[in-house]
């Protein structure tokens, strides 16, 4: 069965510093991978997705992620964070044969002034 592990529950980072949020997945078949963001008191919204093709995926708000099949990872990066990036970030996996998406536990990003 598919699963997602987000290694950090919280990540503090100074404003304008780079950040990496880590995500590892487990699946026995080919997968699609996603990062979603949840701002306070809102639903989740898509940041970026990997379906196929280039392993480096660019998303909204300057975020990007790299799919690494050998390490079963899909880490999210941003070169310079802004206070408005304060939110919870969810990594998610979907097996190619299924509509379901399995979400990780989330990583709370704290931006320090």
């Amino acid at each position: 069965a598919q699963s997602v592990t987000q290694l950090d529950s919280q990540v503090p980072v100074f404003e304008e510093a780079p950040v990496e949020l880590r995500c590892n997945y487990s699946s026995s078949v080919s997968v699609y991978l996603f990062w979603y963001v949840q701002y306070p008191n809102q639903g989740l919204q898509l940041l970026l997705k990997y379906l196929s093709g280039s392993t480096l995926v660019k998303g909204i708000n300057g975020f990007e992620a790299e799919f690494n099949k050998s390490q079963t990872s899909f880490h999210l990066r941003k070169p310079s964070v802004h206070i408005s990036d304060t939110a919870e970030y969810f990594c998610a996996v979907s097996e190619s044969r299924d509509d379901k998406i399995i979400f990780g536990k989330g990583t709370r990003l704290h931006i320090l002034p």
Binding site: Y32, L46, D99, K100, G106
Partner: protein, 114 residues
């Protein structure tokens, strides 16, 4: 700007009462998902539909929860009777399935069972 609409946004009820949450998916979307979010368990999939047919409700406590899609514009999640442990934020999401499979989330219903 198309969006998933959930009602009510907040619900406070007493233990034992029936709770009904509603979701209007984005027009044209053929998949609908219900999730529950808590601090302890994170985001859990309760049930999902494709073309209004229930495909998986294995994440849902069957004795008290039920999910239906009476038509393509409405999905409902009912809890009867409600219990304090049901307190959570319930999200509905819709999508096109297939390779696209991006899910679009509503703003959620925050349920408090006293």
């Amino acid at each position: 700007d198309a969006r998933v609409t959930q009602t009510p946004r907040h619900k406070v009820t007493e233990m034992g009462q029936e709770v009904t949450m509603r979701c209007q998916p984005i027009l044209g979307h053929n998949t609908v998902f219900w999730y529950r979010q808590t601090m302890m368990q994170g985001l859990e999939l309760l049930a999902y539909f494709r073309n209004r047919a229930p495909l998986d409700d294995s994440g849902m406590p069957k004795d008290r929860f039920s999910a239906e899609m009476p038509d393509a514009t409405l999905a409902t999640l009912k809890i009867q009777p409600s219990e304090p442990r049901d307190s959570a934020v319930y999200f509905c999401a819709s999508g096109l399935g297939g390779q696209g499979r991006i899910q679009y989330f509503g703003a959620g219903t925050r349920l408090s069972v006293l």
